[in-house]
């Protein structure tokens, strides 16, 4: 058997690195607790106020997306997990040790992506399905519920996990470019939270066009059971967000290739 390094051997190495630092464990724990905890709080709040809600509110009520409310905050946790997977190597200088062992930088990026995407996708789907099931349990008897046997519902729940995975990769890609933990997390937060606020200053007729391209709106579209009147369809939203991530990743990978480590 040849001992040549391969994508799989590098991915194995990255998997060991990923799971042997506390920041990953804490990040994933925060992600799980935030998603489930907040979703449960949202669900209880809705259940408590259901009888006071207006008819039109009840008419447009979507039990699925409401049950996944915790993802609104979880997306920051996964962004941090993604960024730290690369920026922590720069903080300690360990990136040099890594690159001396794996001089093929494109392969290193690919291996890190594989590890990150696979682990967050698995955890994300488990968390989203669990959250959904808990939400339905809380709603039952008072608020209308739905079930995973309906394929649009199943799709919406699974897409929530996909959305969070894409955002993890976005955090990672920004980290490749910025190489600094605090800077990366700041830029990530600005992209998610501040850019939408800037959108509010645009003329009214541009606002909606702008808004539906924001990552948060794309996430909303991906997680909705019914197509949203002012947003993209599920698959278009997924494709646009994936394209964002791919572009930032391509920039990051190119910079890693060109710069001195």
């Amino acid at each position: 058997m040849s001992n040549e390094t391969t994508l799989m051997s590098v991915a194995t190495s990255e998997w060991i690195k990923f799971r042997t630092v506390r920041s990953t464990i804490m990040g994933v724990l925060t992600f799980v607790v935030l998603t489930i905890g907040l979703s449960v709080l949202f669900a209880w709040a809705v259940r408590g106020h259901w009888h006071d809600m207006s008819f039109s509110e009840k008419l447009t009520f979507d039990p699925t997306s409401t049950s996944l409310g915790g993802t609104q905050l979880a997306q920051f946790a996964v962004g941090v997990i993604g960024s730290l997977f690369i920026t922590s190597e720069y903080a300690s200088g360990a990136i040099r040790t890594t690159l001396a062992a794996v001089p093929n930088r494109a392969r290193l990026v690919l291996a890190k992506l594989l590890v990150l995407a696979a682990s967050i996708l698995v955890v994300g789907e488990l968390v989203c399905v669990t959250t959904f099931l808990i939400g339905m349990r809380i709603f039952s008897g008072v608020v209308p519920t739905t079930s995973l046997s309906s394929s649009p519902v199943l799709r919406a729940v699974l897409m929530a996990g996909v959305y969070l995975t894409l955002l993890t990769l976005l955090g990672f890609a920004l980290g490749l470019i910025l190489r600094h933990s605090a800077a990366t997390i700041s830029v990530y937060t600005v992209l998610l939270l501040v850019v939408p606020i800037i959108g509010l200053f645009l003329p009214q007729n541009w606002q909606n066009d702008f808004q539906r391209y924001e990552p948060l709106s794309l996430g909303g579209s991906m997680m909705s059971v019914q197509p949203q009147s002012n947003g993209f369809g599920v698959w278009s939203a997924f494709a646009i967000l994936a394209l964002y991530v791919a572009v930032v990743l391509a920039v990051g990978a190119t910079m890693l290739q060109r710069r001195d480590a």
Binding site: N3, S9, I16, S92, L99, P103, D260
Partner: protein
């Protein structure tokens, strides 16, 4: 074998490495000596493919680092002992490194044992002393049992016992026919560690040779004590030597041999009480060679005057 082929590296406006050109051969310990900031680390980073050279190349057995199929099995390096994630244990750090190059897991325990840090293998690296980190770095360099080894300032942070250990270790690596390239800014260290020394300053090649070669070419000084130092001084000055009064009655003469001084004293009718040639140390040679290339030299110290 390691080949540095007309290598230059420019960072924005500074030329960190300026047309370096030398070979590092197997079977001997080669010292890479230069003041701080002279381009040693940059050269090592380029060898490992971490920094891109502006001109020229560095090759390992004829190949660029990027083209090595099993990098850790060909080159082992310790650049910065602290370049390890502080939150990971020593064993996990080495396990991840080993996995990337398909090195057996059992090898991790072997190298931990060899460098003597098995007892802290499951402790987080962040709590390690510099000496322990150096040992971990050496363990990492040895993982793939490579034929070429690079060490950047490996002695930093080691206690005297560790320093002795590492010297013997370099020697045994070289005796096994490996290429051992060790950088240092401490000439005294290189004098006892290296067989061959390459001296650089401000990124430029200065000289190369064995410790004996380097000291042989340098003229030493002579310590003289005589019955009449004043008269002897004027005699020496007429012969274009330089004189320095060291302490009490000792003169340190440079530029002349002890033979010349003895004869000059005889002709002037002075009784010589002591005449001791001092062989130039590697340290003297080094300071001489790099005097112009030290980036931050110490100036004369002046006491502030009270007005």
């Amino acid at each position: 074998m390691l080949k540095i082929d007309h290598l230059s590296k420019k960072y924005s406006n500074t030329l960190a490495v300026d047309d370096l050109n030398f070979d590092v051969n197997p079977g001997v310990v080669t010292g890479f000596l230069g003041p701080n900031g002279s381009g040693k680390s940059t050269t090592m980073r380029i060898i490992l493919g971490l920094d891109h050279p502006t001109k020229g190349r560095a090759t390992i057995n004829g190949l660029d680092y990027h083209d090595l199929k099993e990098p850790l099995r060909e080159v082992g390096a310790l650049l910065d002992a602290k370049a390890v994630h502080p939150g990971r244990t020593a064993r996990n750090h080495l396990r991840a490194l080993a996995a990337s190059n398909k090195i057996k897991r059992s090898r991790v325990d072997d190298v931990l044992d060899f460098v003597g840090i098995s007892s802290v293998a499951n402790k987080k690296v962040g709590g390690f002393s510099l000496g322990m980190s150096q040992r971990l770095g050496i363990a990492g360099a040895l993982l793939g049992d490579p034929g070429v080894l690079l060490f950047d300032e490996p002695v930093n942070g080691l206690d005297p016992e560790g320093i002795r250990w590492i010297r013997d270790f370099f020697r045994s690596l070289a005796n096994e026919g490996r290429t051992v390239f060790v950088s240092s800014h401490l000439m005294s260290e290189m004098a006892v560690t290296a067989d061959q020394i390459i001296v650089i300053g401000r990124g430029r090649f200065i000289t190369q040779g064995s410790v004996d070669d380097l000291t042989a070419n340098a003229t030493g000084t002579v310590i003289v004590r005589s019955s009449d130092n004043a008269q002897l001084t004027s005699a020496i000055l007429t012969l274009k030597g330089t004189v320095q009064l060291v302490h009490d009655n000792d003169l340190t003469v440079s530029g002349l041999t002890s033979d010349q001084i003895g004869r000059a004293a005889f002709e002037a009718g002075i009784t010589v009480l002591e005449l001791t040639p001092q062989r130039a140390s590697l340290e003297d040679v080094f300071i001489d060679l790099t005097a112009e290339s030290v980036e931050f030299g110490g100036g004369k110290i002046e006491m502030p005057h009270h007005e």
